[in-house]
């Protein structure tokens, strides 16, 4: 019986395991994960789970894995992969043979440079256990310093304010969200955080962090220091490629896969945060995404291709962030844009449509309360996929139904 082993039990690995069954695979499936929990959704970790102290929101409960005949080995890491002998070596000493292998090992938080030893008051946020530890340090009045003005840091700031903590967010660049979010939208986000009492300091250079028994200190390059009760570092993530590299797979800002998510070794595929892939819609440009929907899409695609479907990756980058009652969504890649069209919808919500020199829609970014911009961003995503060159005047007019531009 064919045995497919999936290393990495997050959203992507779990989705792949179920997708294999949905596509009719009747062989053996083993999902191996280092965490003690069954696969769970990570987006709530900086939001509802942190706010309310919730248990992990499982992708599926144990019964569904059992019903689907998926063996989930939690709390076990993989020590090595032997592509020639087609086995993986587990941390408990067992050796697991496979016919095909899927790597969904995700990414880990980038540590603050130079930190070592036992650290209690300087944390990162990636796992449920991280959320539990951060929540324990966020009583009302405690001072939280967040390093990094990206999505993790900003979502954490919003939740920490709701929990009554005093929050300072430190960003080294001139503004927050400088990776992939337009200035106009970042400005709305920053203003909201400031209105909620978050202190945002941009352009600050941190020399070092120093932990003592009762507090932690940030030392800035200009000689100033700032004390806090807790620091959370959110300065990006590093793809977990070491196992793949040691097994001789090609690495290129992640485990390099082709448009079918196949690695440089034919029986081994990779998907999700750990892999970099070429995106046909943007001239085959290679990218790596750390996003929930990408994890789902690639998990399902990898499952199809593990079974020989030969389907190419076609989904566009798409992600969202929730902060307070604001939701931000971005579809596509705006880097090549030469023109931006703003469309104002109800209640202060707006969408920016990014067009290339040929007038083709290549990305859309929006922000508003609740799901105000969700439907239009979804339609924009479909327009991007279809290669539409929309009339800029119609695009800007809120009364124009985007559905009509999609058909055009």
């Amino acid at each position: 019986m064919l045995h497919i082993v999936i290393i990495g039990a997050g959203e992507c690995g779990a989705r792949a395991a179920f997708a294999l069954r949905e596509k009719g695979f009747d062989g053996q499936i083993t999902l191996v994960g280092a965490e003690e929990h069954l696969p769970y959704e990570r987006p709530p970790l900086s939001k509802e789970a942190l706010l309310h102290g919730l248990e992990p929101k499982l992708v599926s409960d144990a019964a569904r894995y059992a019903d689907a005949g998926i063996a989930v080995l939690t709390g076990l890491s993989v020590e090595s992969i032997d592509p020639a002998g087609k086995t993986v070596q587990l941390s408990n000493g067992d050796s697991l043979p496979y016919d095909r292998l899927l790597l969904t090992m995700g990414a880990r938080p980038r540590p603050f440079p130079g930190l070592s030893g036992t650290i209690h008051r300087i944390r990162t946020l990636r796992t449920h256990d991280d959320t539990v530890a951060i929540r324990a340090g966020l009583q009302p009045g405690k001072h939280l310093a967040i390093i990094g003005g990206g999505f993790i840091g900003l979502e954490l700031a919003a939740t920490a304010r709701k929990l009554g903590a005093q929050v300072t967010l430190l960003e080294g660049l001139p503004r927050i969200l400088s990776r992939g979010v337009p200035d106009e939208i970042a400005g709305v986000v920053a203003a909201r955080h400031q209105a909620e009492g978050v202190e945002i300091l941009c352009g600050v250079k941190i020399q070092s962090l120093e932990e003592s028994r009762d507090e932690v200190k940030v030392h800035f390059e200009d000689g100033r220091t700032m004390a806090a009760d807790l620091i959370v570092v959110g300065i990006g993530a590093i793809p977990n490629v070491e196992l793949a590299r040691d097994a001789g797979l090609t690495i290129d800002n992640g485990i390099a896969v082709d448009e079918h998510l196949q690695t440089s070794v034919p029986d081994i595929f990779a998907a999700g945060d750990c892999c970099s892939f070429p995106l046909a819609h943007y001239d085959g440009r290679r990218l790596r995404l750390e996003a929930w929907r990408n994890a789902q899409d690639q998990g399902a695609l990898a499952a199809a291709n593990l079974l020989g479907a030969g389907e190419a990756m076609s989904a566009l980058p798409w992600f969202w962030s929730d902060q307070y009652d604001l939701t931000l969504q971005i579809a596509g890649l705006a880097d090549g844009a030469t023109q931006t069209i703003r469309r104002d919808t109800a209640d202060g919500a707006f969408i920016l449509f990014h067009l290339d020199a040929g007038g083709r829609l290549i990305a859309a970014s929006g922000i508003g309360t609740g799901n105000a911009i969700a439907r239009d961003i979804r339609l924009a995503e479909m327009m991007i996929a279809a290669g539409v060159r929309p009339d800029p005047v119609a695009l800007a007019a809120a009364q124009t139904k985007l559905k009509s531009l999609l058909a055009a």
Partner: protein
């Protein structure tokens, strides 16, 4: 006994679109299909309690605005991850230009 509750005038819902309808503490989504029929389901996605009426209707599918979970609004069937629990559906009728939903 069937309890028909008036939702709105039929022309208040565009073809291939959806509106939210709140009634006695419950929330529903009422749809008009591309072939001009009306349907109703529970208003919240079974994945994370998001109002489906903010989502996109495509043919006979409603897609949740938050995480793109998809359902057939005609049958309530969940169409795959991240949604795995079906939506409850309700009978709908149109009389004298108004849409009614059946709340048993």
């Amino acid at each position: 006994m069937t309890n028909w509750v008036e939702v709105c005038a039929a022309d208040e819902i565009d073809e291939e679109d959806v509106i939210r309808f709140d009634h006695e503490g419950r929330t529903f989504a009422v749809y008009r299909s591309p072939d001009d029929q009306f349907f109703a389901t529970d208003g919240l996605c079974t994945h994370e309690k998001i109002h489906l009426a903010d989502g996109l209707v495509m043919d006979d599918i409603i897609e949740c605005p938050k995480h793109n979970g998809r359902f057939s609004y005609k049958t309530g069937e969940a169409k795959g991850a991240p949604v795995c629990v079906n939506l409850k559906t309700y009978a709908v009728k149109v009389e004298a230009g108004s849409v009614f939903i059946s709340l048993a």
